[in-house]
Symmetry: C2
Subunit: 438 residues, 2 copies
């Protein structure tokens, strides 16, 4: 008997028929002999509709009330799914975040999990029930108020429950067939990876891959939760299901995973995948005095303004001026607050100008192989050059190389780089079913 | 400083604009110096929509899951109302049934209130907050599961909170201007009563007046909660509001009410109002042996089948046969189960036949004055005779006389009786705004 945690996003439970399809999948796992815990998001666009109602009523709703409002969505989907599973002849019990023991801090809208106390879940499993849990929500340790976990919340709920219950597998069901080598909407030759390591998945998630939120991957890595990402729409219930989707594993270098298999390090491709992020702005602070503390002042001001800074590049100063230019990228939506924050410190800091380019994108190549293969950068840069794409900024980590290019160049760049690294599938079969859940 | 509990039904919070209108009314009470606790139902048709979803997924959903599903509706409306009140510059805090301390038994779908422990409400009031509470819902003492109170649930929530908090007034806001002398949709000359006693209100509610559920009136009577029914659509915020709607008071016979006023017994009309109920069936058990225990067998079988029996009439037996006919009425929707239950006992009981009339209605005249005025029945019967309405059954209580007539005669009967008892308003001004909340 193994314990499986399955998470279904909003598009997987968008209407009554979808809920019934999910129920069949849940029951298939149960009938295969597993204990099953299911985490669900709100149905389809419910969350957006509730947010729209709140917008029409309030200019800045209190976090406590907004969380109370939004958590109604998962109560609906979890109760319906429990009914659908029961209708198929299996006992099912649904639990809210509070009932499931998801204890959080009191930061409404983006609460952090403090502790998971799944006593009621354990009791229901012991009684032979399928357990359905509302994703995205918890209860504050201090105030006993309902909280939400913010972006990636339902995935994080699933991974946190899998860790607390010592589950054998956490399956994240979504509307695509797994983690792809690139976004199949812009790179038709992209293909689903059968396996990817936590670290590469973290880099892919942090640099634009929407499939998993980096928070959930971090959590999974910390507690070594075996993850699998798969499609809830694929018609593979009970057939070869063990090999469907993408497994996200502790490592790709030959360490045995919890399930006892060994990741195929020898066959691992040099590069796992390509992530892109189109809606970025690039701001350059021109002529910052090249002295200790200058960068700290600049980025301290940006942090105080709540700006979500991404890549930072500073070149060596030219001897002539003892000044340097500092460039950084950030989500385009954060451009104005960042510019305002910088203008406030302009006089004190003494830089003469700000330059803005609000039409840039970022392309990131991720792979463990990069550590020992200096040729990766060369392949990347020449692929871009051959496509006529100009590189504006470069940033690297141990397992990632990112370039900033003009937003209009992103798609062509992604396709060229995907081909250059030998990632193209022989027969394109990208399957994308629409939006992503939360 | 007085404490007011206000309850708003689903039609009063049907959309964002309605929620904002309710918020203005709540704030007006707060700014008049009251502590305010607000009980809200789910928005508009939310509950029906959720029930429809459940119907499409399950033939007989578990009560626990159905309650979890339905209670999502109030979470949405209460959070939105809290936001709307906050937007008007007052602090507001919303509480679910569980957070509000509505402790119930574990009978899902129609839980009874066991205890009200409003500690968090008291704390929020003490901190200067308007308190918003989800109607219709509670939490089970034994299982810690979410429960619903069933029909009339939100009204009962409001009255129970008013009793537990020792409120000075409990206002039930709805889509009509108060308790009417008859349903203004069929009796245009009906007018809103300024005052009615608990007992008459109970009879009116039990015999077809939809304005308040009898359960809530019973609760109010037991704990002597001063009730007022009024319209949430009337444009009377802050103006002469103290006299709007219908007050439901401990008595109409001169006992001081909690608010210190004395009900005007001398001016009390003989008859308070007329209730009607159209969708009834009449079943006659023909030729029941006139011996002890026969009626017990018949109504025992009906009770076991869960039939909701209303009027029962048994005539004296004719000497020739030593048999009697027993007739009773029940909601038309309960006809089939009742007939089946009776057929099962037909052989043992030895009655030769069943007669069904599924097109009857009930008209009830309610008023304290009846006790000492034997002329009431005469007025009632001659008004019906003058209108050509045939009386099929008659039943009386201390303060009520009911007749069963053909369903098609109900409207004409109601208008004639309303006129005969001098209840007609001089200038008809019936205001009805649509459906009723739960």
């Amino acid at each position: 008997m193994t314990l499986v945690v399955q998470k279904y996003g909003g598009s997987s439970v968008a209407d009554a028929e979808c809920v019934q399809r999910v129920a069949r999948r849940v029951v298939a796992a149960r009938e295969a002999g597993h204990d099953v815990v299911v985490v669900v998001s709100a149905m389809g666009d419910t969350t957006d509709e509730l947010l729209d109602l709140a917008d029409r009523i309030s200019t800045g709703p209190a976090g406590r009330e907004l969380d109370m409002l939004l958590t109604a969505g998962e109560r609906v989907s979890m109760a319906l799914l429990a009914m659908a599973v029961t209708e198929l002849g299996h006992h099912a019990t649904s639990f809210t975040g509070a009932q499931a023991g998801m204890i959080t801090d009191a930061v409404h809208g983006r609460a952090r999990i403090v502790e998971v106390v799944p006593d009621r879940i354990r009791a229901a499993l012991a009684a032979g029930s399928v357990v359905i849990v509302a994703g995205f929500q918890g209860v504050s340790q201090d105030t006993r108020d309902v909280t939400t976990l913010g972006r990636g919340g339902s995935d994080t709920t699933a991974v946190a429950l899998a860790a607390a219950l010592d589950a054998d597998l956490c399956e994240i069901y979504t509307d695509v067939d797994g983690v792809f080598t690139a976004d199949p909407r812009i790179v038709p030759a992209a293909r689903a990876l059968s396996e990817v390591g936590y670290d590469e998945m973290l880099e892919l998630a942090a640099h634009g891959a929407k499939i998993l939120h980096s928070r959930c991957v971090e959590y999974a890595k910390r507690y070594r939760v075996p993850l699998r990402v798969r499609s809830s729409f694929a018609d593979d219930i009970g057939s070869a299901a063990a090999h469907a989707g993408t497994r996200i594993t502790p490592t790709k270098e030959g360490t045995p995973t919890k399930e006892g298999t060994t990741a195929p390090a020898m066959e691992a491709p040099l590069i796992s995948g390509i992530a892109h992020d189109r809606g970025r702005s690039k701001i350059t602070v021109v002529g910052v005095p090249d002295k200790p503390g200058a960068a700290a002042v600049v980025f301290g001001a940006l942090a105080d303004a709540g700006c979500d800074i991404d890549m930072i590049v500073q070149n060596a100063s030219t001897e002539a001026t003892d000044c340097t230019d500092i460039s950084f990228t950030l989500p385009a939506s954060g451009t104005e607050p960042a510019l305002e924050a910088l203008r406030r410190i302009q006089q004190d800091t003494g830089f003469p100008a700000l330059r803005l380019d609000d039409r840039v994108g970022k392309l990131s190549v991720v792979g463990l192989g990069m550590r020992s293969h200096p040729g990766v950068s060369a392949t990347l840069f020449s692929a871009l050059a051959d496509t006529g794409v100009n590189i504006q900024m470069i940033s690297t980590s141990e397992i990632r190389t990112s370039v900033v290019v003009h937003a209009d160049d992103i798609e062509a760049a992604a396709r060229a780089v995907h081909t250059a690294f030998g990632l193209d599938s022989e027969r394109p079969e990208a399957v994308v079913h629409g939006g992503t859940g939360r």
